[in-house]
Symmetry: C2
Subunit: 478 residues, 2 copies
């Protein structure tokens, strides 16, 4: 393992972030520009995320499948807004072995088009609906901006769900239900509170009728998109000729949704919870919840024996625990390393603990120190793990809310966003031309419009002065 973090989070969050992700061994750069390696420690967090989300999706009848990695250009181009949105960032395969291909093949930037081509063959009758399919895979988008591990890469680990319904209501309900799953995941697994809402006309997914989004507020007053869920209306069923015979034997176009969350959510988690010593992980996500570090001066065998006993007991009750009994490293070095890796609870066990059958416990998140008795396993340790998660979530929620400022004045609006002083909430007209000008003036766009009808913060748009239609959150995107 590597040395500690050499930059403060408050001084330079970007360098700090890179060091934390690399030195904790979550991820690494690879031999190919813009493509990350997800190392076992980071990948295990993704596996735990997949497992949580997968069972949520399956609970509403969604099944997994796998569709081709490559999409012929003619298929990708069928929906006009969609291809306009994705064309600039597609990686193209043009050679198979030594042979130049007749048609260019896109590496999937997203799979609407290749999947709906199959859907049009499979869906014939109302009996075939709803069709609820998800796939876990990676997608490739040729980012030209600087890439960041987890947060912005040319290849992204994600899932994409693609469902088909008889009615618009069912489709919209599905898109919103999934958005709730994403929110639950961010909060239950990552201890990251998110705001949920709709995207503006300019910011919605290429080809969607409505895009729902879950966004987190970062310590630097930027916002970061954690997941999106799209109501596609009939925008794809028509060009892809997906039709079903209803009970009256008439053809209808169905309504569709697509929705996705990626490993970027883990990057957001790092940004929000980490500190100058490294990662801080929720016990719900952490590959190891507890690390045992033996402190040995004398009576080595007895202390190691007690450590093993504690280890076995914790494993037995289902707690993810590691005993770090490596002799080539000092206890101090080990404490720093496991802090860097963000393990929620450290147990230091030396002569005193062995003799009194106790555990000296230190919490990574708030540095709280306690002594427990051996017999407090499992009850008090489990309580402690749950408390840590709850406290991490609550503290972050309070912090996020403090960063939001309701703004009515245009000057204040521009200054607060441009200088990253706050996440700004304002009354807004919602017009694409106004959003374009906001972007020029501040470097930011609208992040989301609340789902529920709210009282408008002002009668007029904070920026252009036209009639306000919605409240919206504005911040730069990280």
């Amino acid at each position: 393992m590597a040395e500690g973090i050499e930059v403060k989070k408050s001084d330079d969050i970007t360098s700090w972030y890179n060091q934390v992700v690399i030195k904790s061994e979550m991820a690494d750069f690879s031999a190919i520009k813009g493509f990350a390696v997800y190392r076992p420690y980071g990948y295990e967090m993704w596996e735990r995320s997949v497992s949580y989300l997968d069972s949520k999706f399956k609970s509403v009848g969604v099944k997994n499948a796998y569709f081709p990695l490559l999409i012929p250009e003619s298929i990708l181009s069928k929906e006009k807004e969609h291809i306009k949105g994705f064309n600039p960032e597609v990686a193209w395969v043009t050679m198979g072995g030594d042979t130049k291909l007749d048609e260019r093949l896109a590496i999937r930037p997203t799979s609407e088009t290749i999947m709906y081509d199959s859907y049009s063959k499979w869906i014939k009758s109302y009996r075939d609906l709803p069709l609820l399919i998800n796939q876990w895979n990676t997608m490739v988008r040729w980012e030209t901006k600087e890439t960041r591990l987890f947060l912005r890469g040319r290849e992204v680990l994600w899932q994409e769900g693609h469902c088909v319904f008889r009615t618009e209501e069912e489709a919209d309900k599905n898109a919103r239900d999934i958005l709730q799953f994403y929110k639950q995941f961010m909060e239950d697994m990552l201890a990251v509170p998110v705001l949920i809402g709709k995207k503006s006309e300019s910011e919605k997914f290429a080809g969607a009728a409505i895009t729902y989004t879950a966004e987190a507020i970062l310590p630097n007053n930027f916002m970061s998109q954690a997941a999106t869920s799209h109501n596609l209306g009939q925008n794809f069923s028509k060009p892809f000729d997906i039709k079903f015979l209803n009970e009256k034997n008439e053809f209808e176009y169905p309504y569709q949704t697509s929705w996705g969350i990626s490993a970027r959510s883990l990057g957001v988690m790092v940004l929000i919870h980490g500190d100058d010593k490294g990662l801080i992980l929720s016990p719900h996500l952490a590959p190891y919840q507890v690390v045992i570090i033996p402190i040995i001066k004398d009576e080595k065998e007895k202390i190691i024996g007690y450590c093993s006993e504690v280890y076995s007991r914790l494993s037995e009750v289902g707690i993810r625990v590691i005993l770090d009994s490596r002799e080539e490293y000092s206890p101090g070095w080990k404490l720093n390393q496991w802090d860097l890796k963000g393990i929620p609870i450290k147990l230091q066990i030396g002569k005193r603990e062995y003799e009194t059958k106790t555990l000296s416990l230190k919490v990574r998140f708030n540095n709280e120190v306690t002594t427990l008795n051996y017999t407090d396993i499992p009850t008090k340790i489990n309580e402690k793990l749950e408390d840590i998660h709850k406290n991490m979530l609550e503290k972050t929620r309070e912090d996020s809310l403090r960063r939001i400022k309701n703004v009515k004045s245009k000057d204040e609006f521009v200054k607060d966003i441009k200088e990253n002083l706050f996440v700004v909430k304002s009354a807004w007209c919602g017009l694409p031309e106004c959003e374009e000008k906001i972007k020029e003036a501040t470097g930011a766009t609208s992040r989301l419009i609340p789902l529920e009808k709210e009282e408008l913060l002002d009668k007029n748009c904070v920026f252009c002065g036209k009639e306000a239609k919605v409240n919206a959150y504005f911040a730069k995107s990280y």
Copy 2:
């Protein structure tokens, strides 16, 4: 769901296979030539396979990770035998958005090269070994032969394990241990017995020191490779400059393995177990182990009530069960459809069963019919499921062994293989030039050489007459 299978397995196994896989909704062709869609029914079998294998790998300390999909040509070319083996079938990305790339990027045909580039950064000391990493992903090889769903496609669902050890012995043990896991998987999950052994010099993996293989014997006397496990020696550590400092502070090159199994194993399972009615699945693999089909003439509510009771009881005890109460289809149609999908046990429940609290049970695999009492759930149903698996495996094992013939005469050797009369086992010289000529004469190559030293079947090579070195199995590859 589609109509039944329209060709007999014994008449035309290839057409039969395609119909079974497509009509059972395991997989489908896609809009892109040579690329399959793994539909939910087939993908669920793959998920069950992944889950079985993943826990085997993890039991010996292997961790999952994810490495880039794309490999720069310069990296792919570092090991000379390797690039020679894969170059003809690589799909090349040459454009990112509208920009022509400076260097061509290969879609991973296998990940030795991109992974070992990272390994050379990560491995510094003997403390970093063994390094045990696996990834579940897809690989792309630009097949020019006719593709077949599951069995031969341009994109393949698989896992690739890549481990690094201090010594040759550890590496070889790892390669053999994993081979045993593959054998266990084929037998425990798919009820497909396999032969295990080594590949010949000509047939081994491009860049390997030794390739171990697990192969199944098919009903048409072809053989099919289910999985391979490679001892790579130092063939990759040297060109990739993977070095570690040993305890004496000297640099050494470590020894490596790579090993993989793909969804092709499911295709082999279909070929071996299916019949003229469709799929036959082992209860260990089947997405549903039991289907309940209500037979309703009168007393509909009571019968449906009893069906639901049986359904709940079976679910409760962990049996994967589906109740097919769709009213728009007849019981006869349903029986055929679930036979096509290979469900191990069908329960028909009508008035008689409701009145006597019994279950009329029919086994897909051998058409056995029994009546059980409701109170036989779970014991007798679980026994039945285990019996089905065991009987499927045993029957197939006997059938496979009957297909092997020990041959000493060259003429018999050529005829038996060329005309697919038997899988042939013979004494062999093992020389590449002899294998080349066998291929010309028979259309087949050696499939494997037994792992354990055996008494030679003859002093001389069955084909070229030179000194025999090993016994080997010969058959065409399906």
